[in-house]
């Protein structure tokens, strides 16, 4: 399941855009039906308090007008819903209040031009862009424009690694532009909101402490060259993906905006550009249009951006009905798709819909996406429900079945079941048990967030000892057990590791209870119909193991093969796990004992 991005919109502004005053409940229902979630209703002053921390915000709180805001969770693939403009557009089309505009790009006689130099190919090879002409900002639109870029950077741009957006006041710069990559000391400019010019190296140092920007530095830091965009007069537009130049920054008064998106993933760059155009070209002198940017590739190939020509996806009427489980006419399907911004035409010969995908709906890849949109517009909860006629028998996994049977037997023998983590620290599995890591046993994690989890546990004993230690205040004796999987390296398996089902039981109290644990082993063997017989059944052979006390430790053999170990837990191990009383433990392989897989 996906982590959903959250969009914050001012309630009043949203209602104005929707042209209707919804109650919170009505709006919540609309969201549910459409497939977004009204997560929280709060006020702007409260919001700021949450962001700034209580102390600083107390002073602000009184001064701020308390504006009601909606926090709306949206699907991770609907980039067009990441701002007020897109949310309102989608909901208005969904409510049949609006037709989706026809977004167009205009090829002018002398287009703005950007040339890519070869050095960029080693660090950030792609750039796309466009010009928004005669745009009218006000503070609401301007803030939304900036916030949308932030949201895109966080989501589809994968924290600027895949795509980075730069927006510039075109009237402060002059084309043609060049997209270059240069050694950091050769790049000198004043970054956004700084007065002084500095080298790229100094800029990187400056942002080392910047809470927002420091997270992006790693993307280019180790590269010998940094990406940079210049205008004709060597003004720096941006040093993607870190920062724009101060020279070309946009303001409320900006009339003409140059958008550039540099990328390592050209498809995502296109989606980001399309989204910005779809959301903000409505404020242009000629609404819903933008002006092409001519990009000259390293091979001299000229490409005009954006490419707003809609994609086509075809979906048969029958397929859609089959997938949803309804029986709708082509006309009805077309009407429903219109509410989802998808314009469809019936190709009568094949009874197929020819569906036009606008630049706002890059999430549509295939006919199944079209079927889903029919279902959403039809209303998921209006679809007739039926239990599929699929006739199959129930079947348990044999290993799980025998595990459950043994769990019951062991609990009946007076042991209480515990449930411990599959991950542990290296020391818990080895040093603390005075066991040596042979390097061929434990599966090691590369990036754990906590030191508690360095490896997959190769045995259950550490978790059992930790639980006994934690529960040491309980009346004694304490008798615990667990049946679950450990993970061990194994070269026979495609991943080089495998699960193995183990049983671990422990007795702790005023005496070690070695005979109690021994008795449990006998009981388990009796239940498994395994006799005490070195050749035909099980037997115990004295053994040495760092976790157990010398002379009170034995291997458990099944027909001569080792399947487990038991003994009095070594006082040193008890000390390592903070257990102030004696204990005995047993750990055996259930796969080997039961023969079940």
């Amino acid at each position: 399941q996906e982590a959903m991005p959250t969009v914050t919109v001012v309630r009043k502004e949203l209602m104005t855009a929707l042209g209707q005053e919804y109650t919170d409940k009505e709006f919540e229902d609309l969201c549910f039906e459409f497939g977004v979630e009204l997560d929280d209703i709060t006020t702007e002053a409260v919001m700021q308090r949450k962001e700034k921390g209580d102390k600083a915000a107390k002073a602000d709180a009184a001064a701020d007008a308390e504006e009601i805001v909606y926090k709306i969770d949206i699907s991770a693939n609907r980039y067009d819903l990441l701002c007020l403009e897109g949310m309102a557009l989608a909901l208005n089309v969904f409510r049949k209040k609006l037709e989706l505009p026809n977004f167009r790009s205009v090829k002018v006689d002398a287009p703005q031009k950007m040339t890519i130099t070869p050095a960029t190919q080693q660090i950030r090879p792609f750039v796309v862009g466009c010009v928004l002409r005669g745009i009218k900002f006000d503070s609401q639109r301007y803030n939304s424009f900036i916030e949308l870029q932030d949201k895109l950077h966080e989501n589809i741009c994968r924290k600027r690694t895949l795509v980075a957006i730069g927006t510039h006041d075109l009237d402060t710069i002059e084309g043609p532009f060049t997209y270059e990559a240069l050694p950091p000391d050769q790049i000198v400019f004043a970054p956004l909101n700084q007065d002084e010019k500095m080298t790229a190296t100094q800029i990187m140092e400056l942002y080392e402490k910047d809470p927002k920007l420091k997270q992006y530095l790693h993307i280019i830091r180790s590269s010998p060259v940094y990406p940079v965009i210049y205008d004709k007069n060597r003004n720096v537009l941006s040093m993607p993906p870190i920062i724009n130049g101060d020279h070309s920054k946009i303001s409320l008064e900006t009339k003409n905006v140059l958008i550039e998106c540099t990328a390592t993933d050209p498809m995502r760059a296109k989606i980001v550009l399309d989204t910005l155009i779809a959301m903000f070209s409505g404020y242009c002198a000629e609404p819903f249009t933008c002006e092409d940017l001519l990009v000259v590739g390293t091979d001299g190939k000229e490409t005009y951006f954006p490419d707003l020509k809609p994609h086509k996806v075809s979906a048969s009427v029958d397929y859609i009905n089959r997938i949803v489980g309804v029986d709708l006419t082509a006309e009805k399907q077309i009407e429903l798709l219109g509410r989802m911004q998808l314009q469809a035409e019936l190709v009568a010969a094949s009874n197929t819909l020819d569906v036009t995908i606008p630049p706002t709906r890059h999430d549509i890849l295939q006919a199944c996406d079209v079927a889903e949109d029919v279902a959403i517009a039809y209303g998921y909860n209006n679809v007739p429900r039926k239990v599929p006629a699929t006739n199959t028998y129930g079947k348990q996994l044999p290993l799980n079945k025998i595990s459950d049977q043994l769990r019951g037997e062991i609990a009946q023998a007076g042991f209480t079941e515990i449930l411990t983590f599959g991950l542990c620290s290296h020391a818990e599995a080895f040093a603390k048990l005075n066991r040596v890591d042979d390097g061929n046993t434990a599966v090691t994690l590369s990036n754990p967030k906590t030191l508690e989890f360095e490896i997959c546990r190769p045995t259950l004993l550490p978790g059992t000892l930790k639980t006994l230690s934690n529960g040491q205040k309980m009346p004694k004796p304490i008798k615990l057990f667990e049946i679950t999987d450990v993970v061990r390296k194994c070269s026979d398996n495609d991943v080089g590791a495998m699960n193995r089902r183990h049983l671990c039981a422990i007795h702790g109290g005023m005496s070690s209870g070695f005979e109690v644990v021994h008795g449990l082993l006998d009981h388990i063997m009796t239940m498994m119909d395994v006799p005490l017989d070195a050749a035909k059944g099980y037997s115990l052979v004295e053994a040495q193991d760092g976790a157990f006390f010398d002379g009170r430790c034995a291997k458990v053999l099944l027909r001569g093969e080792e399947i487990g170990i038991m003994g009095i837990v070594h006082p040193k191990a008890l000390e390592e796990f903070d257990i102030p009383f004696p204990a005995s433990a047993l750990e055996i392989r259930l796969d080997a004992l039961t023969g079940a897989a």
Partner: protein, 513 residues
């Protein structure tokens, strides 16, 4: 030994009381105690015990009583302060200083009392020297106090004086009159706590008296072992799936390849879940050793351009997938990275792949409940691992309506009705639905799971024909368990910090009563 003496004394008293009652009632328990030389409190103890077995009935009377304070005791042994001071003064008198020096602490009280009763006088003519007024005096206070000890109290005005001087303190007491009770017998039968083997053998249970049992106390702990609450709930979910004809998948495989965990599910390689921070990647063994090459080529093509050379035994026509794909390069190296599976759907993919390799398609209903891992910072609602419950049905011509009906039937077995579905997004399902149910307590719809139909971009490269669909849903085991057992902190449920007492007292899991 002390206990034995007390018991024996009690037995003696009991015999004396019962024998006395044969002659007639006991008017006053205190008199009785004095007469027999018993401690009155011990007698009361015996009486109350006899009352509980209805051997006697008793009637209390309240009495005013007095006892000496420590100071009062001193008076009895050494005389009152005034008498002591009087004795100190020689016939030719003494100075106040001399008297205070000799008498110490009691000088002040003693002198003042002597002056009040005019036993002494101060001669101002002789520089305040103190002289006796009487040749000898009677120490009435001492006598009164001695009488109090014996239970004889002086007249009220004298008693008030003693009280004011803190020589006596109030000690009210009860005495009892005693008469035969309905179960009276001259000898008390010994009450037993339990029926013994001996009683059964010799038949003495017929006449034996038994001590009353305290039904308000708890019985003895059974010493039984218990199963873990989360796994008790797991058992119920397993049962539901089995009742509904689902087959359990072999999910005992925590280490997985990125290929099965992500790529086979058509999850893009640039997906945020593949970030190092969200997923546990494996340092050792870091990469997998084998991925089925033919299938991998199809997955690669589907990611890159949305189509592949489909077809196989079940799909002889090999109709195209016709997807736009992700239009970006797909790297095998990324797919080979080992990780701890983030969902059991990695196993579902392998089961479906195997199913698609069969000559003939057979419908299947699969389920699993097993651990999955997320590289989370631990808090009250997040652990690095939890149990995922997953169910899926693969058959020809399944629809979204089938999925809804299946989910409704499943949750009805959990006692959850009024199920609603909300559109959502999952990378590998389309259509996708979040599952909500009406929660009576919270008075709102609450999310309980996620579901969808696997995308053709996932099923078709495996080799399934175009008309085969797979509907699936999933939820966590921990969340319903926490709601069911009202547990707020997930660490109280899963892991070594769990309260063993909670495991012991946790009831049977009954999802529907």
């Amino acid at each position: 030994l002390i206990v034995t003496c007390a018991t024996m004394a009690a037995t003696d008293i009991e015999a004396a009381v019962l024998s006395q009652l044969q002659a007639g009632a006991i008017a006053n328990s205190l008199d009785f105690a004095k007469q027999k030389g018993y401690d009155h409190l011990a007698v009361i103890g015996v009486l109350k015990s006899l009352v509980s077995d209805k051997y006697v009935v008793i009637e209390p009377s309240d009495h005013e009583g007095w006892k000496l304070t420590d100071e009062g005791e001193q008076c009895v042994s050494k005389g009152s302060p005034e008498a002591q001071i009087f004795a100190l003064v020689p016939d030719d008198g003494a100075s106040k200083d001399e008297i205070e020096k000799l008498a110490g602490a009691m000088a002040k009280v003693g002198l003042s009392q002597c002056m009040q009763s005019k036993w002494l006088r101060i001669d101002k003519d002789q520089g305040g020297k103190i002289f006796k007024n009487e040749a000898s005096v009677t120490d009435a206070v001492k006598e009164q106090l001695a009488a109090v000890v014996k239970g004889t109290f002086p007249p009220k005005q004298d008693l008030d004086k003693l009280k004011k001087r803190k020589l006596v303190a109030s000690a009210n007491y009860k005495t009892y009159s005693v008469a035969k009770g309905e179960e009276y017998a001259p000898q008390r039968a010994k009450a037993a706590t339990d029926i013994t083997q001996e009683m059964i053998n010799d038949g003495s249970w017929k006449t034996q008296k038994f001590k009353p049992y305290n039904f308000n106390a708890l019985g003895q702990d059974t010493g039984a072992g218990r199963l873990h609450p989360l796994l008790k709930v797991r058992a119920q979910f397993r049962e539901i799936f089995l009742e509904m004809g689902f087959e359990e998948m072999p999910t005992n495989r925590f280490v997985e390849t990125s290929f099965w965990n992500f790529d086979s599910l058509f999850q893009p390689q640039a997906h945020p879940a593949r970030d190092m921070q969200d997923t546990f990647f494996i340092k050792d063994p870091a990469t997998c050793l084998s991925i089925p090459p033919e299938y991998m080529a199809k997955v690669k093509a589907t990611h890159e351009v949305g189509d592949c050379q489909t077809g196989g035994p079940q799909d002889p026509q090999a109709s195209p997938i016709k997807s736009l794909g992700y239009r970006n390069t797909w790297a095998e190296g990324e797919a080979q990275k080992n990780l701890l599976r983030t969902h059991t759907t990695a196993i579902s993919a392998q089961m479906l792949y195997k199913l698609a390799q069969q000559k003939e398609f057979t419908p299947k209903k699969y389920f699993s409940i097993d651990r999955v891992f997320r590289n989370e910072t631990l808090d009250a609602t997040h652990l690095a691992e939890f149990h995922q419950i997953e169910g899926l049905v693969v058959d020809r011509n399944l629809a979204l309506g089938d999925l809804m009906g299946m989910i409704e039937a499943f949750f009805e077995k959990l006692g959850l009705k009024d199920i609603r579905f909300k559109p959502t997004y999952n990378p590998y399902t389309e259509p996708s639905m979040e599952i909500f149910h009406w929660h009576e307590g919270l008075n709102k719809y609450v999310e309980i799971g996620n579901s969808g139909m696997f995308r053709p971009e996932m099923l078709r490269p495996m080799g399934f024909p175009e008309d085969v669909s797979c509907i699936a849903w999933g939820l966590s085991l921990e969340r319903p368990t926490m709601i069911l057992y009202k547990i707020d902190n997930i660490r109280d449920l899963f892991g070594h910090k769990v309260d063993l007492g909670m495991i012991k007292s946790n009831p049977i899991c009954r999802l529907v009563k």
